[in-house]
Amino acid sequence: MKSQYPPAGTLPRRAAAAGAALLLVGSTTAAPAAADDDGGTDTLTVAMAQQVDSFNPFTAQLAVTTNILRHVYDSLVTVDPETNEPAPSLAEDWQASDDGLTWTFNLREDAYFNDGEQLTADDVAWTLTTIMENEDAAIASGNYVAGFEEVTAEDDRTVVIDLEEPQATMTALNVPIVPQHVWEPIMEEEGEAFSDYANEDFPTVGSGPFMLTEHERGQQIRLEANPDHWRGSPGFDELVFRYYTEKDAAVEALRSGEVSFVYELTDAQATSLEGVEDVAVNISDGKRFQAFTINPGAETQDGEEFGDGHPALSDRTLRQAIVKAIDNDEIVEQGANGQAVAAGGYIPPRYEDFHWEPEGEEAVLGFDPDSANEMLDDAGYERGEDGVRTSPDGDRLELRMHVHSDRPDNVQAGQVMEERLADIGIEIDNRTVDPGILSDALYDAEYDLIFTGWTVNPDPDYVLSIHTCDGLPTEPGTMQGDAYFCNEEYDELYEAQLAEHEDKDQRAEYIHRMQQILYEEAVVNVLTYPNIMEAYRTDQIGDIQFEPAEGGNIWGQDGYWAWWSAEPADVRAGAGGGLSTGVLIGAGAVLLLLVAGGAYALIRRRATAEDRE
């Protein structure tokens, strides 16, 4: 009764399988020409990893968004890529009164928003005043206006800022200036919900060299050039930021030309891209320092002690011995494979004026394990039978060390430190942990040694401010800084540098002295300045401005120089043909699925039909 079916059952299936195989082969042979990029050469594509929180310039927090918004909204002052000095942007020039309390900014005449409205002093005054008065609007830039008393628009082109007390950071006001005529209605309409307003009405109205035109969450962000920008039209018509959650995949995308630029590479990734055709690897001096801090005995501002740091660490001799036992050059070699600079002072050397390096007699804490051992012997730290020392108070020197598990260079540096500290009789309990655990240990002061690091801006005020006594917590767990450091002389110097807005050399002098105090107190100990590693395609980007101009970086600039200055390369690599092969392969994939699905459905139907007989 079923004899006529069996041969028929296998035939269509075999045919389907053969067809599918053929299709697969067909699509692979059609492939090689598909290597060119998607957008043509006047689109610059950047591979990025971080998600976007919000395009609202008043609330955006994350590095990627603040970076992108810098291209959409001009600020009063920017940084000169050649000199790292404050440079004119919306403000053509500025003056401070003799007492440093009144600052006058003269705006340029040719700044327009991309909806045609002119940018006036009212926009500046409204933006800054809003940040001062509205808590919801202070999330992103509140720190810049903390010392402002009043901002007034004297006339269309003149903005006057009155301060409560002098501050030297007035030429580093990195606040995006927004159009009042667009944002005032938004604030009124949103009211309480303003902090959730994401500013996704595209294209956005701003005065910067680019405007936001598209955001597909988790996929890409598109910016179009503003051809009428007062500084001149950007070289590329479009900037596209595409998400790559996996950096290794982004590196492969650079190889294939899908993206023009990748940043924050590891040493291994940078090395693998060296010598690849049409790819330039750019390695520049870092803006970041990598450090470890020692818990000197955590206290609140009122002197209440808390946490469980090792008691012996309040002894400066022990802290200094720890620093002397560690060789920063070894950490550069072992921890960063040579892609870093061994640290001296707190501020990286790319900021020549403010950088300080212990030299000659100042270099009291250079690598010298013998001297470190001697210091500890003299101070009464006796070695036990197992080689581990005990403090004069009888506490064994077993110290916890918290290391960021998500930063490979920290992990490797931690391993080196563990060995070196064993040389001077200190046992390390290496705790390589998740950033959340590390952060809890820091704020609860339940650590002995802990890793940290900061990216330093051209104006170093903030990273210096976190080590003043005001940076101590008012109650346990609310610390502002990243070390329980408090030193009167340091605080006096901090106030002095903040007030010194006229004589830059004098301010640098104060800042050098502050770094010397940090160094000698050995609470905040800088290990290295990691290099910035990034790569771009020379067949897509012809010319680009580095910051600083010589040996500088592309991503993370303080101005919008890189993407504003970038020029498309002349060579149009493999133009045309890409899309059609892409379509072909896509069609192949769809067909493959359909054939497989169809064949399966056929078999199933046949099978069930036969079963029902």
């Binding site: 596209v240 959650t245 996996e246 995949a249 950033p435 809890d440 392969i585 079963d611």
Partner: protein, 351 residues
């Protein structure tokens, strides 16, 4: 309900002695069974919601500090963020706010995206269903097909090769396989440079039919990675369950009727051997929503797994607990469906 009645009527030749007498009792038993399963599902979901809320709150780390890490923020700015996220409220009040929201299907607000979690999820649901759904179906078909072959002649050459290959891929780390495929087939090196895109879901400027084709092209590598890693489960279950069936008497009967070997396998052994795989398929369907976190991450596929990964990094409590509830709910729902459907397929376990 209609499907239940038709299915129960299905086996026409089944003995129906007790049907007239026990009709009411049967319906009650079924109702009790369904009710029991429903209660279990609801209770598990409630437990998951409570556990999820408190579990994510005892995670180490502070979301506000993590979000502002490396940024120059003042204490006032941090306090304002805390207030906006509701983190300054006592824990129990946060929980009641959250539970109240759930009743209105409001999963809360994501800290980092500052958008309702429900919206974020809906945005990402499509891509995930597309990728993980396709992957699960392809893997199930492939695994069941190969498993049926392998199990029919255990120990034969086909069986040994198939099992070895499947177990090899099963033990390969997803991440590594994905990157390897990218290097070989998507980057500028390998035999076919740039054959497939490295990542993403669709080319930026594609529209209409082009977008569909571009999506298909973007799907190839992620689906291949996913299928390669998971098809072994189906293969092994199908294989062992077919081996169990092989000695059954009804197969001898079928052979005695003169049926060819292939027919005996396809029409008699395989349908019965398929039963245990139903549970597996439903379990995996439940996990489709949570996506394939690793595959989505390697290929930057804008789905829910990828969203979860980005939320865990912060930790973005609003987002993570919302997704947690969704993932748990989908697994619970699919298990419930499996419990309800299985008796329809297998009369032996009917209540």
């Amino acid at each position: 309900m209609t499907s239940t009645s038709t299915a129960t009527d299905g086996p026409a030749g089944a003995p129906t002695e007790d049907a007239p007498a026990g009709g009411g009792g049967r319906a009650r038993r079924v109702a009790l069974y369904v009710l029991g399963r429903l209660t279990t599902a609801v209770v598990s979901l409630g437990a998951v919601i409570v556990a999820g809320f408190f579990l994510f709150r005892i995670l180490p780390g502070d979301p506000v500090r993590a979000m502002t890490e490396g940024r120059e923020v003042s204490l006032e700015q941090e306090a304002e963020l805390r207030r906006q996220f509701g983190l300054d409220q006592p824990l129990w009040s946060q929980f009641f706010d959250y539970a109240g929201g759930l009743l209105r299907l409001d999963l809360g607000v994501s800290f980092q995206y500052r958008e309702p979690v429900t919206e974020l999820i809906l945005e990402r649901l499509g891509p995930t269903l597309l990728l993980a759904g396709t992957g699960t179906i392809v893997a199930a078909l492939l695994g069941l097909f190969l498993g049926a072959r392998a199990g029919w002649r255990p120990g034969g050459r086909g069986d040994r090769v198939n099992t070895a290959v499947a177990l090899f891929f099963w033990s390969v780390p997803t991440f590594w396989l994905g990157l390897l495929l990218i290097v070989l087939l998507a980057s500028g090196r390998g035999f076919f440079p740039g054959l497939f895109p490295t990542s993403g879901m669709v080319a930026p400027d594609a529209t209409g039919i082009e977008a569909v084709l571009s999506t298909a092209r973007h799907m190839v590598l992620p689906v291949v990675t996913m299928v390669a890693v998971i098809y072994a489960q189906y293969l092994m279950i199908m294989r062992s369950s077919l081996i169990d069936e092989k000695g059954a008497d009804y197969l001898t009967t079928a052979r005695a009727k003169g049926l060819r070997d292939g027919l005996v396998r396809r029409r008699h052994a395989v349908p019965n051997a398929l039963l245990p795989t139903v549970t597996l398929i439903f379990l995996n369907l439940g996990q489709v929503v949570s996506g394939v976190i690793l595959v989505e991450t390697v290929f930057s596929w804008p789905g829910l797994g990828h969203l979860f990964y980005s939320g865990l990094h912060v930790p973005d409590l609003g987002l993570v607990q919302g997704l947690f509830v969704l993932f748990a709910a989908s697994v619970i729902l699919m298990n419930l469906l499996a419990d309800l459907v299985y008796p329809l397929l297998d009369p032996r376990v009917r209540p």
